[in-house]
Amino acid sequence: MTSVDAALVKGARTVIEAREVYWSFGRTPALTGASLAVAPGEIVAVMGPSGSGKSTLLYCLAGILAPPRGEVWLDGERLDTLTDSRRSELRRSEFGFVFQFGQLVPELTVADNIALPLLLGRVRRKAAYARAAAWLPRLGLDGLDGRRTGELSGGQAQRVAVARALVAQPKVVFADEPTGSLDTLTGELVMELLVGLAREEQTTVVLVTHDSRVAAYADRQVVVRDGKVVSQSEVELEAGR
């Protein structure tokens, strides 16, 4: 049973959902009917070998790619049929992102980077910086607000990225290999912060990883193989966690 089926059978509300989604890079198929439904507040890890389509599925769910076949739904709204500008707007207002690296603006300070999603969402400057500052102690980044992110260690930068992903209280945070460039202990700290803070904020997380120890932080793990979601751990979707 796919997670979409499971959600329908159990009558669970889903916040983000892919239904039989297809995507190709040129003639190379990346997704061949992938389905995934995620309940509000759920933390789901998408696993699979390199080239299986797991990152492509995340990009389709996040509205970065608009699949030519299949459907993507965000909280009852069809996402894949929206215009590029509307999807871009939704990405800013409803989603947060944590990537392996390269997501911060290195010339800007820690506070600037965390406040950025709020400023783009037209929150007043003073309020945006006050909210950004409130995240620093939660991430063990006290005193670093004026530091340029290009001068941070990998672990510090990822903690800033976690704050930036969560600060605007998005419906869903998408994380693509968020610990891929970190050593074991630093990666563990970043995962504990990401998962712990997402639970506190009741934010849904879709996490792509090839690392089973990272995936074990999630409530549920699904495996993508040859462009399809082929297996997943048993959970009660309506229970969330």
Binding site: P49, E192, G196, D211, S212, R213, A215, A216, Y217, A218, D219, Q221, V223, V230, S231, Q232, S233, E234
Partner: protein, 175 residues
Amino acid sequence: MTVPLTLLGLLEREPSHGYDLKRDYDTYFGRDKPLPFGQVYATLGRLARDGKVAPGDAEPGAGPDRKRYAITEQGASEFDAWLSQPVEPEPHLQTVLFSKVVLALMLGRPAEAYLDTQRAAHMQRMRELTRVKQDGGLMDRLLADHGLFHLDADLRWIDVTSARLGALAEMVRAS
């Protein structure tokens, strides 16, 4: 524990003599540790006593035992249940998993589905250990890490085997 079940799996293909069972067992499962003849016949005797295999009439020829053994319905049922259940996630279970994968391919059963079931069982245990880490002190974290790294190694083996099932199936079916 797995020798009787593995012999049942080999008998699921076709009724066989003890000699044939030993040869096939050693080829696939006993490379470093061949199965002694004595253990083959002792195991077959216990399986027959418990109604899981049925010995045929003695056939003429040299050797200690020229009976052909066939699996019974009870034996087939027990083997099937064993094959489809995930192994308790713990370190050093590759040998059992390997036996299950080879037997599944040999018998045309869904080896990939068994590996997926095993992966889910492993992930369940890893989620439990991760919660222990998050809620516990330093000693708990270190102990949980030990388990997590071993389970992670198993999962890597499951993933690699899953990617090589096609080639393994060809090899097993060709022999």
